[in-house]
């Protein structure tokens, strides 16, 4: 597989729950990745039922140098009482790819997020010893962890977490109108449409402030 190195270095794989209750954190993470000059990638970017899901995920992982893995909703599902394995499984795929992949894949790095500190020890103790960041279900905290992680990975100067958050609030203010005048309803946008709204805002606001 031929991988565009610039794309690879800036691509960030998001491995997180796609539940409605997680939307606020997900959107804040997507915005932060864009605002830090990186490209968010996730399984939701291609809605194609003819594709085998795991094949699609593996392809996206192979194209991303960085990964954000949120294992906060990996616990038991209240209805089925069964654990949700997708996020830890994809984290395993990502780290396996780093360990056993070629020299490009060996450069992978990731940020693991959870709800509270050390909670992971009771269900995923194999990751003990790695830095796990707790967001306490707070989108601003999650965004700050993502910003701080990407700031270490970037050659460019990235604004402080509070500045990125302030920009996110400004984006959120105009997003419903931007969506509406673009023929969309903000509550119904797909991942691709949301990414287009965010990318547009970041592009224009970045031009305005340079």
């Amino acid at each position: 597989m031929v991988i565009n190195s610039l794309g690879y270095n800036l691509n960030v794989f998001i491995n997180c729950p796609f539940d409605d209750g997680y939307n606020a954190i997900f959107e804040a993470i997507v915005f932060t990745i864009c605002d830090c000059g990186f490209t968010p990638r996730c399984a939701k970017e291609r809605e194609d039922s003819s594709e085998v899901r795991i094949q699609k995920i593996l392809e996206i992982i192979s194209e991303c140098k960085h990964g954000i893995h949120d294992i906060s909703i990996a616990g038991a599902d209240p209805k089925t009482k069964l654990a949700r394995f997708n996020m830890p499984y994809e984290l395993g795929l990502f780290t396996g790819c780093k360990k056993f992949g070629d020299e490009i894949q060996n450069k992978k790095s990731c940020l693991i997020l959870d709800k509270t500190p050390y909670r992971y020890a009771s269900f995923l103790s194999d990751i003990a010893g790695q830095d796990i960041r707790a967001h306490e279900n707070n989108p601003q905290k999650a965004a700050a962890h993502v910003r701080n992680f990407l700031a270490q990975k970037s050659n460019r100067k990235i604004p402080s977490a509070s500045i990125v958050w302030e920009r996110y609030i400004n984006y959120k203010r105009v997003a419903p109108r931007l969506a509406k005048e673009g023929g969309l309803k903000i509550d119904e946008v797909t991942f691709r449409e949301r990414l287009e709204l965010i990318s547009t805002w970041v592009k224009i606001e970045t031009k305005t402030h340079t």
């Binding site: 610039l6 794309g7 800036l10 864009c34 000059g37 990186f38 490209t39 968010p40 990638r41 970017e45 291609r46 460019r156 100067k157 604004p159 500045i163 105009v174 109108r177 931007l178 005048e181 673009g182 991942f191 691709r192 990414l195 287009e196 709204l197 990318s199 547009t200 805002w201 970041v202 592009k203 224009i204 970045t206 305005t208 402030h209 340079t210």
Partner: protein, 51 residues
Amino acid sequence: MYANRKLLLSPVVRPSRIKKLEKILIKILEEEKEQKNGKSHSHPQKANGHK
């Protein structure tokens, strides 16, 4: 702080869609700016009127 930054768009984003949204956003931001300026101009006039 954001100077010299090149935005690398996701492969799933449609450049034609971004161009269309850019025009809409510029219009929205200009309208907001005008409204803001209008408000800040009207305030001193009101104050003067009371004098």
